[in-house]
């Protein structure tokens, strides 16, 4: 049979974003794959070089728009290292809280999009309903639903409003009950098993060779989780288990993400208790004066200090909802970073597409790519 290339994208119901999956097919069977990115390349690394450290946080929210707070956290850890600033302990716990809530939000968003790919429409509405509850919590302390600008070099912008922790616990209780409901809707459905079991298999060796991280790697039996292996912020002070599965297929990735959400709830309960017991400052005392000002004052007087500020390099690596995200920030003295390099887990996960797509059929592409959890904002930057 003759082979041909078809384009799935940039506008295609499978893509969940703006990218193009070129597949070479022989009849129904996929024989080659060539993903094409860049349709959302906004040059975030370049415009960061023209912004103040705190202004770059704005861009980080938009880098990965379903996990904005996780990317803020990534950037803030790296720039604090580059600027030699220590955040107070309460800020670290608040950041862990942000990141875990963001993981819940991101995974629920993934769930909503993924179930549509395999033809189940009901869980979409349930998922979007529950995600809105998480976003309501964000809104109550950051003021925004998706683009928060909450973290600052040296801490976080503001403390929690009164009564927040109780409200958060109510939401967590509600969500915990909903996860079982999700499982019933999906794992209890024949459609789900027929479409997802033994599909898109990517074994541990291939995952590691092609740089695949996150739930995809953990579903292949490698329990690598940077929150455990290389603890940052307050993750060494909370208890949780690393989710894992052995099947390395689409169902495995589903199970890992579901378990991760349950573990996030577990972390959040501990963090909320800690926050209740330990009031304190949320911003570092000693900040260079130019960092305190989010915008350049007219005469730029405060900026004279910048010349004396020590140089440095900051590196951070966090377990973002999609996998291992990294930031490498070079501070050459001055109010702008010299270079901001971001590494997105989705970028690597898509780059391995040939490994987990070839040999399957065209109709298998939506569930497989859905299980990868593609967020084009962060892979293109």
């Amino acid at each position: 049979m003759s082979e041909m290339w078809i384009n799935m994208g940039p506008q295609h119901p499978m893509t969940h974003g703006l990218w193009n999956l070129r597949v070479k097919i022989d009849g129904e069977v996929i024989v080659d794959v060539d993903p094409e990115l860049g349709y959302l390349h906004r040059g975030i690394e370049k415009i960061s070089e023209d912004r103040h450290y705190n202004e770059v946080v704005t861009l980080m929210d938009r880098t990965c728009y379903v996990a904005g707070l996780a990317w803020e956290h990534l950037y803030i850890i790296a720039s604090e290292k580059a600027l030699h600033i220590e955040p107070p302990e309460r800020a670290e716990y608040l950041r862990v809280m942000c990141e875990e809530f963001q993981r819940l939000g991101s995974h629920i968003m993934w769930f909503s999009a993924f179930v549509v790919d395999i033809g189940l429409l009901t869980p979409l509405l349930y998922g979007m309903r529950d995600r809105d509850l998480v976003l309501d919590l964000f809104q109550s302390y950051t003021g925004a639903r998706m683009t928060y600008e909450y973290m600052r070099v040296g801490g976080v912008r503001n403390d929690l409003p009164p009564g927040f922790t109780d409200r958060a616990r109510t939401v967590l209780d509600w969500l915990m009950a909903r996860f079982d409901e999700y499982d019933k809707l999906t794992l209890g459905s024949d459609i789900f098993h027929k479409r997802c079991d033994n599909l898109g298999i990517l074994k541990a060796n291939d995952c590691i060779a092609h740089g695949v991280t996150g739930p995809m790697l953990r579903s292949a039996g490698v329990k690598r989780d940077l929150r455990k292996d290389r603890p940052y912020a307050a993750y060494d002070r909370v208890e949780f288990d690393v989710a894992g599965a052995d099947s390395a297929d689409v169902t495995g990735r589903y199970l890992v993400r579901m378990e991760e959400m349950r573990q996030s709830v577990r972390i959040l309960r501990q963090v909320l208790d800690w926050l209740d017991r330990n009031p304190g400052p949320v911003m570092a005392r000693e900040l260079p004066r130019w960092l305190g000002a989010p915008y350049a004052p007219v005469g730029r007087e405060g900026y004279l200090l910048k010349r004396n500020y020590p140089k440095g390099v900051g590196f951070s690596s966090i377990e973002e909802p999609h996998g291992e995200a990294q930031a490498y920030i070079v501070n050459e003295g001055g109010e702008h970073p010299y270079r901001v390099k971001l590494k997105s887990p989705v970028f690597s996960n898509i780059s391995a597409a040939r490994q987990y797509l070839v040999g399957y059929r065209v109709a298998d592409i939506p569930p497989i790519m859905g299980s990868v959890d593609v967020c084009i904002g962060e892979s293109d930057r």
Binding site: P10, Q11, H12, P13, H16, G17, L18, G38, Y39, L40, H41, R42, G43, I44, K46, I47, D50, T58, L59, D61, R62, Y65, V66, M109, S112, A113, L124, L125, Y126, M128, R129, R131, D132, R145, M146, T147, I376, G377
Partner: protein, 209 residues
């Protein structure tokens, strides 16, 4: 279920009441030489619309006045069933999706996202437009059948937003396609998107064929 709480009077009789001037349809038919009974098609509920449409179509068939009668019917139907293109450009697409979720339920306004541009009459540009995607966006726009509308959702689509200075970003989608409604916000909340869609409905209603 108990008795229906609806207390609205039965419809159809409204075809005898005079609607506002802008909505009135009457005129001389060249063939019949008599005034055509106008049909008010402002009704927003389906069960009111069906009898009204029947009457309109009936008079169409009898009087063969395609231009004067069928245009408003299509206007009514079109503006109440805008089908946006189903695609996600960037962050605003997530709020676009939320607007179709359980809490906002955009489908109650007749807005149903379709994946093929051939079935759409509304393009919601929900995110940052880069030069790399620009010609694809134009292709999609040209594939949509007339009449069609464009909503620029968010600051990026309006004027480049936070990426205005970036080397790869189109500073405003109106450089590529004509835009009917701009929605400010980064991202606009789902309410704002719904408001934008309702604004567009108003624009379509005032449209002269």
């Amino acid at each position: 279920m108990s008795a229906s709480p609806s207390v609205r009077p039965a419809p159809v009789a409204r075809s005898m009441t005079l609607p506002p001037e802008s909505l009135r349809l009457e005129g001389e038919l060249p063939m019949a030489g008599a005034a055509v009974p106008f049909v008010e098609i402002e009704a927003l509920r389906a069960r009111e619309f069906i009898p009204a449409a029947k009457e309109a179509l009936g008079s169409l068939i009898s009087n063969r006045s395609r231009e004067t009668l069928i245009g408003p019917v299509f206007n009514w139907a079109g503006r109440n069933s805008l089908f946006p293109l189903h695609w996600g450009l960037a962050c605003c697409a997530i709020e676009f999706a939320a607007a179709f979720g359980a809490r906002w339920d955009a489908e109650r306004f007749g807005v149903v996202a379709r994946s093929s541009p051939r079935q759409c009459d509304l393009m919601i540009v929900n995110g940052t437009v880069t030069w790399k995607v620009a010609h694809k966006l134009i292709t999609l726009y040209e594939q949509m059948p007339e009449p069609k509308w464009v909503i620029a959702m968010g600051n990026c689509a309006t004027g480049g937003g936070p990426f205005r200075t970036a080397y790869s970003v189109v500073p405003g989608v109106d450089k590529l396609v004509p835009v009917d409604v701009y929605i400010a916000g980064c991202p606009p909340r789902p309410e704002a998107l719904l408001d934008g869609i309702l604004t567009l409905e108003k624009l379509i209603r005032e449209r002269k064929e």
